[in-house]
């Protein structure tokens, strides 16, 4: 349902502004954790704003290795087990490319500035 303003993002920005405002008054460990809190809020904002492209790509990747129906954490766990068993050894180059795209999707949320230019602008093409 429709909530009144501020929006979720505006609320997160407000909390972020407050934490940043008090950070200079903190010392040592508390200061460090306040900086980490801002870092976490930015992750939350990016994750809430994600358009779903990377999620779709992840599901398509899981289907290529495990068949339809594989999805989410359970699907990733099944893929991890398949890799460990050695049954996907012949597809290791393909896996390297696919898992790079999967991890790029995570880094886009955690710290997009850490991505190599080759992964910055382009969205995964399906």
């Amino acid at each position: 349902m429709t909530q009144d303003a501020p929006s979720i993002d505006e609320l997160l920005v407000t909390v972020r502004e407050f934490v940043q405002e008090i950070t200079p008054q903190l010392d040592g460990r508390d200061r460090y954790h306040a900086q980490c809190a801002v870092y976490l809020l930015d992750i939350v904002r990016r994750e809430l704003g994600a358009d779903g492209t990377d999620a779709t790509a992840e599901q398509a990747m899981l289907a290529r290795y495990l068949g339809d129906g594989a999805a989410g954490a359970a699907g990733l766990a099944a893929l991890a087990a398949e890799i460990r068993s050695g049954r996907l050894d012949a597809r290791s180059d393909e896996l390297l490319a696919d898992l790079t795209r999967q991890v790029v999707g995570k880094v886009r949320i955690t710290r997009p500035d850490q991505l190599h230019p080759m992964h910055r602008e382009s969205r995964p093409a399906e």
Binding site: C36, L99, Q102, T110, Q114, H116
Partner: protein
């Protein structure tokens, strides 16, 4: 409630009393402690600086105590850390002099005392501040010489480390810990599979530092003063220590300087070969760097697990869980040959 930063007055007083008692037991009733400083360094270790005062003599010392013992801890207990330091200090390697170990008659447990060494450990300062330019120039050769000398030692007196899981099979041990702590990481599995299929064939086994990286060594303007943090010491392939120092995750913004963010590989490898008598195989070091990403990821898995299970919660430990993706990314980019 946090371990450091908000250490309660009562806790500080009990540690101070325990230190004073330990010092008097060993150095006589006239000995005392002074200038006690509770630092906030170390995640699971308590570090306290103090002066040992005996008549007119005064010496700055460091008290190290293990405070959190995580399940399946990957770290050596303080007793074995002290034993490693005691074994190596007489060899003339730059490390803090071990002074004494706490025993059952002390009120403090799982702890030891070493000499304080003046210097800087913070990576960003060491890598960026103009005052350390000379130390930076010397670093690669000094790091190579240090590891070369360490690895040239007879590992027999360190046989007590043979039972440490990392001495047996670091890859299997690390993956087993990730399994226990949880999380789903196909990228780490892919790298582990690559490592399994490309295991190095070298057989030389040495006493390793195990955590030799920027941040765990103390420098001053003239260069390396002391190598700290021996809680990961174990027996293994010497290239493991070389690869860990070169891990991209420990270059602190200077990704074009593979040796700890300080400089190029060539002088590091050359100094190592000269001090140890063994040439470096860059491909073997690369194998250990790929392994190093998994190992670095596994420490982050451990911190995220500690946070999730409530053992020790903080914003920093929560961030560790999400930072695993950054390590996976650098790992895959290295495996693909894009990063070096």
């Amino acid at each position: 409630m946090t371990e450091q930063g908000t250490t309660s007055t009562a806790l500080r007083e009990s540690i101070t009393a325990g230190l004073r008692q330990a010092v008097k037991r060993r150095f006589g009733a006239a000995a005392d402690i002074d200038a006690v400083e509770f630092t906030s360094l170390g995640g699971s270790n308590r570090t306290v600086l103090f002066d040992l005062v005996d008549g007119t003599a005064r010496r700055r010392l460091v008290f190290r105590q293990e405070t959190i013992i995580p399940a399946n801890s990957p770290f050596l207990d303080p007793a074995r850390q002290f034993r490693v330091l005691s074994l190596l200090y007489p060899e003339g390697l730059p490390l803090p002099e071990p002074i004494f170990e706490f025993d059952d008659e002390d009120s403090l447990a799982r702890a030891y005392v070493v000499a304080f060494v003046e210097g800087e450990t913070v990576p960003r300062r060491l890598l960026d501040a103009p005052r350390y330019e000379r130390a930076r120039q010397r670093f690669c050769a000094q790091a190579g010489e240090f590891l070369g000398r360490l690895h040239a030692l007879d590992p027999a007196p360190a046989a007590f480390l043979a039972e440490v899981p990392d001495s047996i099979d670091p890859l299997a041990t690390t993956m087993a810990r990730i399994d226990r702590w949880g999380g789903v990481h196909p990228a780490l599995e892919l790298a582990a599979r690559w490592l399994e299929r490309h295991r190095p064939t070298s057989t030389r086994r040495c006493l390793l530092h195990g955590d030799f990286r920027t941040g765990n060594m103390l420098l001053d303007e003239e260069g390396m003063r002391a190598v700290l943090d021996w809680e990961c010491a174990h027996l293994g392939a010497p290239a493991e220590d070389l690869g860990w120092l070169c891990l991209r995750s420990f270059r602190f913004g200077h990704v074009d300087r593979p040796v700890g963010g300080f400089g190029p590989r060539e002088p590091f490898y050359a100094a190592y070969a000269s001090a140890s008598g063994h040439p470096v195989d860059p491909e073997e070091v690369r194998w250990w760097e790929i392994f190093g990403f998994i190992r670095w990821a596994h420490y982050n898995v451990m911190q995220a697990y500690g946070h999730q299970t409530g053992a020790r919660r903080s914003a920093a430990f929560a961030a560790c869980g999400r930072n695993i993706a950054l390590i996976e990314y650098e790992l895959l980019m290295t495996l693909a040959g894009h990063y070096h």
